[in-house]
Symmetry: C2
Subunit: 330 residues, 2 copies
DNA sequence: TCTCAGCATACAATCGATTACATTCGTCTT
DNA sequence: AAGACGAATGTAATCGATTGTATGCTGAGA
């Protein structure tokens, strides 16, 4: 099919070793020879086989990325950050969508191992708990995004979830909402425990009413419907992420409670759409792109040196918009 | 590092050929031998190298997917469909985000060629025009999503964009909006020409006022601002996609024109968030997941037989919500 | 008992690159 | 002028699997 290095060597009247050296530039090759080789390469349209190179060099320049759900803008941004960081380093990304299915996550671990990826980024909610042992002695560097393990210390890149929870709750308190509710993500969701701790830094004991949900828009809507039977406005509402906040606001419209007059809503993530909503959504912004890029950076550090203890915590930032500011409603 | 087939063979006291056959099951192997081999495989945790296999078999079981922007829910859904269809066939997906940059698209074509992917899915707006020749004689099957080429016939999977444009425009006419505007995508955007034709099937000549934009929320917002200086309500507005519609609706709020009373808005795609908006967005639904899965299916068909002429056109469907129905506004 | 068929397995080539080691040849030193 | 050095290049091993061909063994038939 496509020409091989032997074809180039034959056409140039040199050995494959010389072609290889002329292209890699690692060793000295006579200028005239290099010119000749490059001319033939261009003429034949030769493109080296990454497969053959990988076999010989025992590295693939490919990273595996396992995410929960690529259609969630949080993960999409994260993947973008990882992909662009990888591109800058001449590497590629094998994408795996776990769909929250532990079975599928295990399957993908096998697939990625067999493809001999140079590193693994796991931004998957269900996986990390179930497969923590496997991840801990994975044959290549692994970095978790937005998860941590107390028992099995695996390098991680996370946002400061506790501070995020605290910022959200404190903001709603400052706005004067007399009660507080929270729509939490699924129990296995990565940031969840720390965000709850952060909320509880501000709101103690039984003054906080919570509902758990699936972490998407539909889940947020249903959770808000359940919540509406347990609480009366006005109150502040902290949501697991922006998607659940969007679902909750849809439910609130149907119920007839006004945002922000009756209910002050705060989301988490700051996905791009949040500022285009009506009302625009107050949220705890995470830099998803930086999380993804930071994960790639962590893998590189782990590969080049023997660093194994990485725990990068990215800052979060409260972005105040109309959904939580009383007296600004239309 | 990880055990190789030789390690397994040595431990089992057989040759590597026998191990290979025991695992592939293609040739008869004595049951006792197979048991022994499988036991050793399990004990050593042997996982075959896809790299070595690919080199020998000259196939990688990996597909390349080039998209314009993974953070656009349209492409995210499409990638999901492709990824899951690939998974069902025991294949994987190398993801490439072109970011609308032709340079980067060319770069990725090289990367994917070097990785010897078994097929290529191109759902990238800018690429297809600029690299049509390269795609036409790409060494492995290529399928375009939501693009077609008149001159170089490359297999394609698309939605019925013309019908989509027609449905959107006709609906707005039926709703009694006396004037019509359209926010179009970038000039190179895939579906754009046919959607315009569809709109013009319904609205002739200078009765249609158009603005082009970048195809994202910000672009939609700015386009609506420009448009507002050229038209007065009431009018119907057809948008390039749901993201631009969201941006347009944000602009309309700031301008103070009501949706749907002053302006009836129709988007394109039906991304998940559209039904959660306020007002919920009327849109021409495309089955993005099916487009992605269909692209994989097309690659399989092209690989197994010598089919080279594929032109799958998926149906679109008008989903009517409150953003375009007069007299239902809150 | 000898031969032959056929099953199970081994041997070795192969895929396409990289790279350690060997070789050639010209030039400089003494 | 002989030897040494080093630049340029070639030879061949290697990575880890698959697979065509060869071989050995067992049992059945004559």
């Amino acid at each position: 099919m496509s020409p091989t290095i032997s074809d180039v060597a034959a056409a140039a009247g040199v050995s494959t070793a010389t072609v290889s050296r002329a292209l890699s530039g690692s060793t000295r090759v006579a200028p005239a020879t290099r010119q000749k080789v490059l001319a033939i390469v261009a003429e034949l349209g030769y493109q080296p086989s990454a497969i053959a190179r990988s076999l010989r060099q025992q590295t693939t320049t490919v990273f595996g990325v396992i995410v929960t759900d690529i259609t969630n803008p949080f993960y999409a941004e994260l993947v973008l950050g990882a992909e662009e960081a990888a591109l800058d380093l001449g590497r590629s990304v094998l994408l795996c969508n776990a769909a929250g299915d532990p079975e599928r996550e295990g399957l993908y671990l096998d697939v990625l191992t067999e493809h001999r990826v140079d590193g693994l980024i796991v931004a998957s909610e269900a996986l990390s708990n179930r497969y923590r042992e496997r991840l801990a002695d994975f044959p290549v560097p692994v970095v978790l995004v937005n998860t941590k393990h107390e028992d099995a210390p695996i390098p991680s890149v996370t946002s400061d979830n506790r501070r995020g929870g605290r910022l959200a709750a404190q903001h709603l308190v400052d706005q004067g909402y007399p009660a507080m509710a929270a729509i939490l993500g699924p129990t296995y969701a990565n940031g969840r425990p720390l965000r709850v701790v952060g909320i509880r830094d501000v709101v103690s004991g039984d003054r906080l009413i919570t509902e758990a949900c699936a972490g998407d828009m539909e889940g947020g809507k249903k959770a808000m419907e359940r919540l509406s039977r347990r609480i009366s406005p006005p109150f502040g509402l902290v949501c697991h992420n922006d998607l659940t906040a969007i679902g909750a606001m849809a439910a609130l419209r149907e119920i007839g409670w006004s945002v922000p007059d009756d209910v002050g809503v705060v989301g988490f993530d700051d996905i791009p759409i949040s500022e285009y909503l009506d009302p625009p959504l107050t949220t705890v912004a995470q830099d998803m792109y930086a999380l993804g890029a930071g994960a790639v950076d962590a893998l590189i550090r782990m590969s080049s040196s023997e660093v194994t203890e990485i725990e990068d915590i990215h800052e979060v930032r409260l972005v105040v918009r109309a959904s939580s500011v009383r007296g600004e409603s239309g």
